[in-house]
Subunit: 492 residues, 2 copies
């Protein structure tokens, strides 16, 4: 069968690439590093978007849209931010093409249409947004400003991988403005909690909440909070970040407000984002050698029904029962695809929907009809059972909840098994190489040590976990005193 | 009051610009020709998106996402399309910035990071999509391909106006692939009908469906169908287009399929789109000198409740009743904002929600409470009445339907009054200058005549209406024979 995947054991990285393309999630494009998100992948992303969008609105945020382009002079205003992104910026320099005088069928960039000031394709929108906020914020009455944007951004990455790291990606970026530091910090943490809630309870991916070290902080932030997840191969993936930006952007763009006490003060800021990278986390957390496994809460089709029959008369009989079951399931709010195409055989369809990750498959044969039963298969465990058609809607409803729970529990168990406390640098390196996963180790708090460990082992500090246990110890690298363990891993 | 608008009679164009900014719909940005869509404007756009997205899915389409950038060599493959858009293309030429050696706080484009091939920021996506479809389509079994994309596009316009014509805008673009010419034409017309249905029945804007002349056709299309609407100032606005692309893109990108009869044939194509320009049509169709008027079906808040009270005790009493009314309305699926902020007076709030176009306002005073009544005001007619709180939910539900109907009827009446049949060029020019609106006139069918009329009067042929009455006549310009009248107007 042409759709067969490389197995995870053979080559995890190739398994991922194969799966993304063969399960029709995304594809490479003619543009270096840019992907095409295919309909099946986009349908999952739409479910992610809709769920998050509701969570953002429930926490008081509204959506808006800011320009794709940032004039260079605005882009460079917040120096750390500019420096952090300068090396991966796509730059628009011209606004017109013209016919090539040497070949009338070709176009060339019109040298007379050079922009006076270059435009940066947004890698993130703090600069253009804070330049806009300057006009919107005068008084404490205008605060807080709680705005989110769904958009595409471009970061010119040299090594790209579908969903995980692409030159263009889709994301949401929240940008809020507050009258006080305290309020901005509360917002930063609130959005981290929203992300953790979503990733655990919808994507079924357990996360560690934490704060980044200075080295790993977002360029322009005073503090970066993050959620870190562990994939099946023991590598970590940063699933979302929420930044406390202090007054850095307010100062760079001169955004002040008049307080209740009639004083002028700089505004406090946060920004937070998740991207199509979440698709990578979802895929790598749950899928297996047969293909994709989608958590029921995010599956475009939660159930697929496949008829097994001979001839038109047989199909007519199965159709009737299948459509009854479909309508019962729809009435429970369950999304169902009934695939009675006659161009493909049942075996092909079984493999196809396994590959595409549909959580539950119902197969209905002519013999089943006589018995009043159907075969129900769950994608997560690949187990099958024959069940009565009576009460199938309640059974499937419960099964979808079970699958969602099982996926989270399985991933939690894996993460727990792959989280190791170590007390020496030797042990640290051994665990990274042999067991992989999260490694909890003492660190002296210096950027220098962090960088040396990274150089020597490719492991980074993923975060300092929130509510971290305080414990006296010594840095595994420098032997200097330490008060807590931090979370190391090799990461995507 | 600082928010007062220029009146339409004074200066229609200034009224529009004032309204868009003051009603918090959109704002100019630091990037030439690009707008910021503000939260209130974006909330309306989200309702437009959600409604259309459902209509697309109900007609069998799925969403996907294709790259923002198009390599120049792909862009120029379909020559007419390339020629049509070449003069308004933003071009990415570099992928990195670096520190300015003469001023460490500034950045410059890194000359060493020049792209081998320039990238065009998509003005429309036929080229990148058909280049992708080449890999997706092999057999008749892969057809039809019914895909839509929600995206931003960039067309470097020299004269821009918020929503109506901006360098960057948001839109959806459908791109479908079919095995036969007939099927592609049916799709083209189906999507025109979907657009007409949406614009008339959700936006309450009546449209004329028609087909463009060769001059006004989309670059690369064999036929362009359109819906044309008439604004309050008698100018036309193209609200949506649906293109039959023939085999032009299939030939440019060599997209062939194997038919059931095992022959190789080129694929047939359509594309269709509507954009944030629809916001301009919505605003200019219904709004008045007090501000925006939003059709209830697209209003982010369909009802606003404003309390009128003295002191905290008064507010507490009104709050109780207001929240009861709100929850009754919510139960009917009506969206309600209760504005009991104590920072603004009722008069200010009345003006504010009038400006922002909320369809229905309910004012509740302490005296009303004793009588069991409230004051209900409708935004479309500005009329008010005192009604009993009993049964208010059914009354408001009906009122919202009435307002939606009234807006459409009012706009239909206006369009009818401003549609004039003329039989001479003198009359044609007089109507354009004095009465304005749609002008139905005989035309000889030549591009030459069409261009001369455009040059001399600034009027263009908006479309040849579908199911047009056939009538013997002579061209108003050339005197040559004609078989039907076509629809002329000055247009946005």
């Amino acid at each position: 069968m042409s759709k067969e995947l490389t197995t995870r054991a053979e080559d995890y990285s190739k398994w991922y690439n194969d799966l993304v393309v063969k399960a029709d999630l995304a594809d490479h494009s003619a543009v270096r590093g840019c992907m095409v998100i295919k309909p099946h992948g986009y349908a999952i992303w739409e479910n992610i978007q809709q769920t998050l969008d509701k969570m953002f609105k429930d926490t008081g945020h509204v959506n808006a849209y800011f320009p794709l382009f940032i004039p260079k002079s605005l882009f460079e205003a917040e120096e750390k931010n500019a420096e952090g992104f300068a090396k991966e910026c796509a730059v628009v320099t011209h606004y017109r093409l013209k016919t090539n005088p040497n070949d009338k069928t070709k176009l060339i960039v019109d040298p007379e249409a050079k922009l006076e000031e270059e435009l940066i394709v947004r890698p993130t929108s703090e600069a253009i947004i804070w330049n806009t906020y300057k006009g919107w914020i005068q008084s404490y009455r205008d605060l807080p400003l709680l705005i989110n944007q769904w958009a595409n951004v471009v970061r010119w990455e040299m090594r790209t991988r579908l969903f995980l790291r692409t030159a263009e990606f889709l994301w949401q970026e929240g940008h809020t403005a507050h009258a006080t530091k305290e309020e901005a910090i509360i917002e930063t943490k609130q959005m981290l909690d929203v992300y953790a809630d979503f990733v655990e309870n919808w994507m079924a991916v357990p996360v560690v909440k934490g704060v980044k070290t200075a080295n790993e902080r977002f360029a322009g932030a005073d503090d970066t909070y993050c959620i870190e997840a562990l994939m099946q191969d023991g590598k970590a993936l940063q699933a979302g970040t929420s930044h406390f930006l202090g007054q850095n952007f307010a100062k760079a763009f001169d955004v002040k407000f008049v307080t209740k006490e009639n004083k002028q003060e700089f505004v406090w800021a946060t920004s937070w984002g998740v991207s199509t990278r979440l698709m990578g986390a979802l895929i790598m957390s749950h899928s297996d050698d047969n293909g994709l496994v989608i958590p029921p809460k995010l599956a475009p089709n939660q159930v697929v029904i496949i008829p097994i029959y001979k001839g038109d008369e047989g199909l007519a009989k199965v159709n009737e029962v299948a459509l009854q079951i479909k309508s019962k399931l729809n009435a429970k709010g369950i999304s169902v695809k009934y695939d009675n195409r006659d161009t493909q055989r049942p075996g092909w369809k079984f493999a196809e929907y396994e590959l595409k990750g549909v959580p539950v498959r119902i197969a209905i044969g002519e013999r089943d009809l006589a018995n009043g039963t159907v075969e129900v298969a769950r994608r997560d465990t690949l187990s099958k059972e024959t069940v009565s058609i009576d009460g199938i809607d309640s059974l499937i409803e419960k099964l979808l909840v079970d699958i969602q729970t099982n996926l989270l529990e399985r991933a939690k168990q894996r993460t727990q098994n792959l989280t190791t406390k170590v007390n020496s640098y030797e042990e640290f390196k051994k665990v990274l190489d042999e067991k992989t996963g999260f490694v909890l180790a003492h660190w002296d708090g210096s950027s220098e040590t962090e960088e040396k460990i990274k150089e020597e082992t490719k492991a980074t500090i993923r975060c300092i976990p929130l509510n971290n246990e305080q414990e006296v110890g010594v840095c595994i690298y420098s032997g200097k005193p330490s008060t807590q363990r931090v979370l190391f891993a090799r990461a995507y």
